[in-house]
Structure formats: structure tokens, C-alpha cells
Symmetry: C2
Subunit: 380 residues, 2 copies
């Protein structure tokens, strides 16, 4: 139950052992083109899709280095570790990061962002971390921010690495120019590839403003090869097979159903742990449905708690990052998450806290969880 | 029988379906540290090992962007597509590529390289493509070139993507500072990760001359995380499992045995195809033992030949690159290559050529192949 990599269904794991084929063959083209078509349905975009053999951070680097040229201003939301890294990426590319920050546990609000935009009319791109894995906070104003980016004539880049497939993100409808998604989070594929959608507007921009040449993440090179269903560099074939099967599962479940399932499971967690007085790190209106962070009750030691959870209950949760280190634990509510996952995790958290001296009622927590989980489709 | 990705043993394929674990856990550290130790035995180095989730070209980018700063001169061997790409990488990083080129089918000779070095005493790095996959040529003077790099006080970078594990390359003994190897070539693992060895000298250089920050391939970041057995970014876990098992197989066979097997199989191919008058593209003293390119006899059409080979004989070979397109075919003699592979391929090539009107004796070709293959250990 960590915030990625998540559990991967057997079907997806087994897809990896399909035969190694030539990545310059029609069989690979067919696979890659299929992945691209399926991704378009999951991203809800008619734009292009690139699958990079790299981690999510590679996808962020792809977005930044293809768009940002020295001196360019980029408005970046920073409300945790991953926003901070994005701002540093912008600066590393020679750009200037205009930072819209927020206290940890909150997300920057639109009025603050609008004021920054007002003072910087020449912003070239807006970069938002949709879900800040480090704090369990989701930025809830993607539509408004897209409108603002559009008004500014700026590119709109959304880091959705940890959330795509687990919460709403209609890429074209929101005017997103570049959207980055991880394989190993809500899509429930293994780690190692990152999926990036790219709007026609970005494609046209790159034609007349080519990014640094010969760069592993150079988008125009990927577009050129994608025309014949290939990647410019040798792809991580087994992970492409796995992603393809993971996308099949997403489309079989239905994107709406999948998002609904994530929401219900998250709500079950929040309600169950509220019943035993655990407080989410995030403010209520920006609580994430895919990475849930909770403050420790006084006296509970992070390392001891997580080790007990792992050793005795076989449940893995993650610790905090940076300022939150030792102060919070984080539950991944991603991918295949379902009733048994929620109930097992709630039971384990409650029981472990009891063992460590924080008195609480496991029964009360489970009762709350079950109330919410009853909304799930019986078949899922 | 294409020049990578090669066939992958079942043991390695099955290793990929091991459970998805947290890449910030002791279990992952143990796996990664094991891979690093095994790689050191295969690279014959006491230096550091980085495993990047990326293609071989990503490994070249890692080498170049960590070493080359604007204005730096880099001597680059160019005798095919991959040398050309390396030279472009150097220029893209702001460096100046001093090109030691050679006609296609040959490799640059040491006298030419020495003359270039004489005229450019301030060379910062020497970059050599050990095996040029595009032409089937292996650069045979790695030791001399290492000596020259050492005399110049230059870093010595070897692109061994397609050859490491299939021919001699004692990294430390040859004074190699950075060596790049692909997973999907002679190591017979699936594609998607690239392994890079780094000398202490490079490590010390990077401490006082940090490369561009926040770059996906930034080496110091990998060194820092490697101290606790982690990668800075989410690794392609299934491919790490597979690489680990592929390295086990290399070490079980023994590196020397493996290289000897590649040599014998290559010799069997060269002798067998000589018996039916096929001419290698490469000059004899630079012929590769891992990627074998042959000129087509007059009148044989590339597409038709390779399609026939695939459809009727179930044997895949590759076509030529660039200037060699349509003129040559290339056989990968890599990884698991063994007697049945050689005999099947020789039979198929000979029979297909006969069908296309090039009269030749399959029996004569097989007789030559068998003579050479008798040198293989009976157990292999």
C-alpha cells in the first residue's frame, strides 16, 4: 500500500514474458501503435503520446527541456518535493521558475496564482503537480489553471505521474499541452516507462523551435519515429507489453469506474481513520484520493510503526519526505486498490497503533470503512 | 539472429515476474548491490557501476553530458552510425568533436588517431565505439588507444553497448574511465536498462566539476543514492531482476568461456559463408565477433532475401544502415548464440540465396561451420 510502485495484476506481469521481438519490426509497430491508441483513451486526448523508457522524473525532464529555453519564465506550483524538483528542472534548463507555493498540506490557491501571473504576463508555460505524492495533496483547480494558461498564451504542463487513471484528468478538455503519467502508479503496470501526452500546439512549436538536439528526451525525434510505430531508441520491450496489458485492464474496467473506485476507497480510508482520530496531513478540500498522508498521533515513532506493520501485518506504508519525515505515514490508494486492501490496511494500522500504546477501536474504524465500501460495484 | 535485442534465456525472462517491491526497501538495495558486484566481475573493474533505466543511447548521453563542458575537445572514432551519433552528442553538449574516421568496413588506425592527438594536445576525452553495429566492425586497438588517452591525460570512454560480454574488455586493465554496455546484446537480458562503469578518476573530477544539475543522467546523484543501494529515480524493477539473472548466467558460464564461444561461433559464420563466396563487409583485421555484416551477391534484393529468410526459415537477420542500406545483411552473434543457431542460420542463408538464384552449396557451408564449431565445449 505504498504510493507506487503498486501491486501489478498477474495478467500484466505475465505479459512481460512474451517473446523478445525486434523493435524495428511490424510486430513492434503494432504493439506501440496499440499502446498509443489506448493511452489516448485514458488521457482523453487526441494529441500525441510518447512512451519513454525512463522514470517519471525523466518524463518531467522531457516536458521541461523540450519547452523551456534560457530566459523563459515558467510558473510552477510548489507544495512538496515533486513541485520543488520541477522548479529546479526549469532553472537547470536556463528558465526562471515563478513559484506559486503553499504550506505543506495545502495547495496554492488560484488567487495567489493569478496574482503571480498578473505580475508576469510573459509566462511561457505553467507547470502544475496535479498530485503531490510527498504530502498527499491534490491540486483541485486544474480547469481554472488551464483557463489562466490559455489566457496567458502559455503552455500548460501537468505532472500527473502519480494520479492519472485514479482521478479526473480529461487532458484535451482542460487544455493540457503536456501531461506526464507514470506506469507504476494508478495504471498498475511495472515501473520503468513514463507516458507523456503532447498537444498539437506543442508539436507545432517544436517544429519551429527545436529543443536541444541529440537529447534522449528530444520530442521531435519521437514524433518522427512514431509515424512508423517505432521509438528512436531501443524500448524496454517487456515493459511495453506490460503497459499494453495494464491499459487493456483500465479500458475493460472503464476509466470512470476506475476513478470512482479510487475515490470510494480513499473515502473509506479517510472515514475509517477519522473514526480512530487520525488526522490527514492535507486540508480537506485538497485531500488526495491516491496518496493519503496521515499525521502520527503523539508518541508514535515512525520507524517502529512501519516495521511493526510490515513484520506483523504484512502491510507496507511509506514514511514522510523532507519536513514530514518521521511525522506522517502515507498510504498508496492506487491501481488495483479494492475492499480487501482497504480493510486489511485499516485493521493493520489500527491494531499496530494499539500495540504501540495509542488506544483506538479497530471495530469502529472498520465499520466506517465498510459503510463507504458498500458503494463499490459488487463485481469489483 | 539480429544484432540485438537477442534471445533471452527462460531463466532471465521468468526473473521478471518476481514480486514488485519498493525501490526504497532493503530488498531492493540487496538486489541492486548484487547487480553492481556482478557487473564489476563482468566489466573487470573496481570502479563504480550505474544502471540507468534507459536505452544504450541514454548511456552514451550519460557519458558525454557528465564529462563534456562547452568548448571541450573530444576525440571520437567515427566509422559508422553509432560513432556519428556520439560525435553529434559531443557537439550537442557544447564540445568539439575531433573526428578520427575511417571508410565504412574499416576502423580508424592508430597512426591516424595519433596524428590527430598530436595536433590537439588539449583533448579532454577520447571516445571510441568498440563495436560498430552498423558495419560489423570492431576497433581492435583498445589498449593502444587507452595508452594514448593516458598520455594525453584525457578521459577514456568506450561505447561497448553491443559487445561487452562477447569480446575482451578488461576495463581497469585498459584504463577505461567510462564503459557503456547494453543489457540486450551479449549479456542476453531484455532491453531497457544500460550499464555504465565509472572510474574513480571520473568520480573525483565530477566532485569538483559537477555536471548539469537535475539531469536524468547526472552521475553524482547516482553515486549518492548507490551508497545505500538505491537509484535516484524509480528503476525498471523487472528489468533489474532480469539483468541480475542474466549476470548470474554470465558468471556461471565464465566470462572467458563466453567470449570464446562468441569467437568460435563468429569464426564458424565467417568460414561457412566464405565457403559460399559471401564477403564480409569488414576488413579482416577488424571483423566483429558479435555483429557480422556480409555484402549481398549481385542480384540479391535485400527486402526479398530477408523476408524469405523470415517466412520460410524462421530466421531473422538485419539489413544495412545508411550507405549500407540494401547492400548488406547483418547477423547478430550475441548472447546465447550456439551451435544450433549457427547451423540453422547458415542453412537458411544458403538455401534462401539458392532460391533467389545465387547458386551455392549448403553442404559446403555447413561442413566449414561444423569444423569450427567442434571447438566448442561439448556441454555448451
Amino acid at each position: 500500500m505504498i504510493p507506487g510502485p503498486t501491486n501489478v495484476p498477474d495478467r500484466v506481469m505475465l505479459a512481460m514474458v512474451k517473446p523478445i521481438i525486434n523493435h524495428r519490426s511490424p510486430a513492434f509497430s503494432q504493439l506501440y501503435k496499440g499502446i498509443i491508441e489506448k493511452c489516448k483513451k485514458v488521457f482523453l486526448t487526441n494529441g500525441d503520446i510518447i512512451v519513454y523508457t525512463a522514470s517519471g522524473s525523466g518524463g518531467v525532464e522531457a516536458a521541461v527541456t523540450n519547452i523551456v529555453r534560457p530566459g523563459d519564465k515558467v510558473l510552477v506550483t510548489v507544495f512538496g518535493e515533486f513541485g520543488q524538483r520541477a522548479a529546479e528542472q526549469v532553472e537547470a534548463a536556463g528558465g526562471k521558475a515563478i513559484v506559486a507555493d503553499a504550506q505543506l498540506g495545502d495547495a496554492p490557491r488560484m488567487d495567489k496564482i493569478r496574482a503571480l501571473a498578473e505580475a508576469n504576463k510573459d509566462i511561457k508555460a505553467v507547470f502544475v503537480v496535479y498530485n503531490e505524492t510527498s504530502t498527499g495533496v491534490t491540486f483541485r483547480w486544474l480547469r481554472d489553471l488551464g483557463k489562466l494558461a490559455s489566457d496567458l498564451g502559455a503552455f500548460y504542463i501537468v505532472d500527473a505521474i502519480s494520479i492519472l487513471g485514479g482521478d479526473e484528468l480529461p487532458v484535451d478538455e482542460l487544455g493540457v499541452d503536456i501531461c506526464i503519467a507514470g506506469s507504476q502508479k494508478c495504471l498498475a503496470a511495472p515501473p520503468g516507462v513514463v507516458i507523456v501526452s503532447v498537444s498539437d500546439r506543442v508539436k507545432r512549436y517544436l517544429e519551429s523551435n527545436p529543443p536541444p538536439p541529440r537529447h534522449y528526451f528530444n520530442m521531435p525525434r519521437y514524433f518522427k519515429f512514431a509515424e512508423r510505430g517505432e521509438t528512436p531508441f531501443t524500448p524496454a520491450l517487456p515493459l511495453f507489453y506490460a503497459l499494453d496489458e495494464a491499459l487493456n485492464i483500465v479500458l475493460e474496467e472503464g476509466l470512470d469506474n476506475r476513478i470512482k473506485r479510487h475515490k470510494i476507497c480513499a473515502e473509506a480510508f479517510y472515514r475509517a481513520l477519522a473514526a480512530i482520530n487520525l488526522k490527514p496531513t492535507a486540508k480537506e478540500d485538497v485531500r488526495s484520493n491516491v496518496v493519503l498522508a496521515f499525521n502520527y498521533p503523539p508518541g508514535i515513532e515512525d520507524g517502529k510503526f512501519r516495521k511493526l506493520l510490515d513484520d506483523k501485518f504484512d502491510v507496507l506504508v511509506a514514511g514522510g519526505f523532507g519536513e514530514f519525515r518521521g511525522k506522517v505515514f502515507r498510504i498508496g490508494c492506487m491501481g488495483e486498490v479494492n475492499t480487501p486492501h482497504v480493510l486489511t490496511t485499516v485493521t493493520a494500522v489500527s491494531a499496530a497503533l494499539n500495540q504501540l500504546g495509542y488506544q483506538n477501536s479497530t471495530a469502529a474504524a472498520l465499520e466506517e470503512a465498510l459503510k463507504v465500501l458498500s458503494q463499490l460495484n459488487p463485481s469489483t
